[in-house]
């Protein structure tokens, strides 16, 4: 195992261990998503046909807002006791930290999605007319799009005075193309239509932004 891979793995396990002990992120995310599912379900009481039209937007907006909670938490741990400085003075590469944080956030949001999806299906009487594997693919690509940018911008807003407000302000505008692709592809698959174009757009978005974040993260980490 190469050194950067080992550091990524150690940082990821450390984050999972911290979350397992504190449950700061996952509890807030679950509570928020649950509220969205229940409140919208009772507000609109949609039919199965209507649900297929609106579910794409509803699901991703819920996950987007819930993800912000996890993204804020992920760096808050590093700021407490200034532990991030210990990482900065060490020989560990910056990108190992970024990849570990992104993977950690991906796991947190994926767990949330796995827990919330059955509730969405029940409350909105959802039944996909298209292939389910495509929905899983869109969920994975869309979640990566949210967390890779989110992790980067959360690190960027780390030293700002009101970082919890800054993160959505930075993240949401840049996520619009990905969000559009996520919503459109989910709606298309639920209605049994083709989603090829939107999936390709998501793949491209993920590749471009993952590369850009990896190239820029060291500068962000060492900014004063």
């Amino acid at each position: 195992m190469s050194a950067p891979t080992g550091i990524t793995r150690a940082t990821l396990f450390k984050d999972l261990r911290l979350e397992w002990r504190s449950k700061d992120a996952i509890n807030s995310m679950l509570f928020f998503s649950l509220l969205v599912v229940v409140v919208f379900s009772f507000s609109f009481d949609p039919t199965a046909e209507e649900s297929r039209q609106i579910a794409g937007g509803l699901i991703w907006v819920a996950f987007l807002f819930a993800a912000v909670v996890a993204l804020n938490q992920t760096w808050a741990r590093e700021i407490r006791n200034q532990v991030l400085d210990a990482y900065r003075v060490s020989p560990a590469p910056a990108n190992s930290l970024f990849i570990a944080k992104t993977l950690g956030n991906f796991i947190f949001v994926a767990v949330l999605e796995a827990l919330m999806t059955p509730l969405f299906i029940v409350f909105y009487r959802l039944r996909a007319l298209g292939p389910v594997w495509q929905l899983i693919l869109v969920a994975a690509l869309g979640t990566w799009a949210l967390v890779v940018n989110g992790t980067f911008f959360a690190a960027m807003s780390l030293r700002t005075r009101s970082r919890e407000i800054m993160l959505p302000l930075l993240l949401f505008p840049i996520s619009i193309p990905a969000l559009l692709a996520m919503v459109q592809s989910t709606t298309a698959i639920l209605n049994g239509e083709g989603a090829h174009f939107w999936i390709v757009l998501l793949v491209t978005y993920d590749l471009v932004f993952t590369t850009a974040c990896l190239l820029l993260f060291e500068t962000v980490l060492n900014a004063e």
Binding site: G6, I7, N81, Q82, V83, R88, V89, A92, E224
Partner: protein
């Protein structure tokens, strides 16, 4: 200690170092040389620039102008394995035990061999007078225990240079004396040790030099704790 044996005479050379935060100059043209195998106590009032100097030496602040050369290198990253840094906050995760914290930081320094890693960590925790088998998370430690665990983290990579910011704050006098003893032993191994402190008297019989700072400048360097009357007045 093969690494410390080959330490050059001047381990740190600072040349006309200026650090500005916006319009405020925290360091105002520091030029100094520091040798290996010595313990330097950096003293001065609040806002004198002690912590900024230490953070700049640790590569956490970039100089606005001037140069810092550490162990012959101008880029901190080239020698970061040779530096141990302890800040005023603990730089530890409150939710993990001391052993878990140090296991993680050991990996950052490439200490990955399971048996060796455990041995190194146990030795370093014992050296600061703590119990390596303590399972309590660091968040439940007393302030003194946290400071000592923080010192253990700084010693983990057996550095040639130790940069310590207020290591004795909130530490009881007996623990502080033990920490001073440990620092003296580190100095005998050839390490250069820089201690920023407001409790200079703790180092009165141990420090090789007292470095006095005011208004972002080094105004005097003395062999004893008494600040000379004729020290340069940097406010002029």
């Amino acid at each position: 200690m093969t690494e410390t044996a080959s330490v050059p005479v001047n381990v740190i050379t600072v040349s006309n170092l200026i650090k500005q935060f916006g319009r405020f100059a925290a360091l105002r043209g520091i030029t100094a040389e520091f040798s290996g195998g010595k313990l330097y106590a950096i003293l001065g009032d609040n806002g004198a620039g002690k912590t900024t100097l230490l953070r700049t030496l640790a590569g956490l602040n970039q100089p606005s102008s001037g140069e810092v050369t550490i162990l012959g290198a101008r880029k901190f990253h080239d020698i970061c394995r040779q530096v141990g840094y302890m800040a005023h906050p603990s730089l530890l995760y409150d939710e993990m035990s001391g052993m878990e914290n140090l296991e993680y930081f050991a990996r950052l320094y490439g200490i990955t061999d399971g048996t060796r890693c455990a041995e190194v960590i146990r030795a370093v925790i014992l050296s600061v007078g703590l119990d390596p088998d303590l399972v309590r998370p660091v968040g439940q430690y007393s302030q003194g225990m946290r400071q000592r665990m923080s010192l253990a983290r700084a010693l983990l990579n057996d550095p040639a240079i130790l940069l310590l910011d207020e290591p004795f704050s909130n530490v009881d006098s007996r623990s502080a004396a033990e920490m001073v003893g440990l620092l003296a032993r580190c100095r005998e191994q050839g390490k250069a040790i820089f201690v920023v402190t407001h409790q200079g008297s703790l180092l009165e019989n141990t420090a090789d030099e007292f470095v006095w700072m005011e208004y972002g400048k080094i105004v005097a360097r003395t062999r004893d704790l008494k600040r000379p009357e004729n020290a340069e007045d940097p406010s002029r």
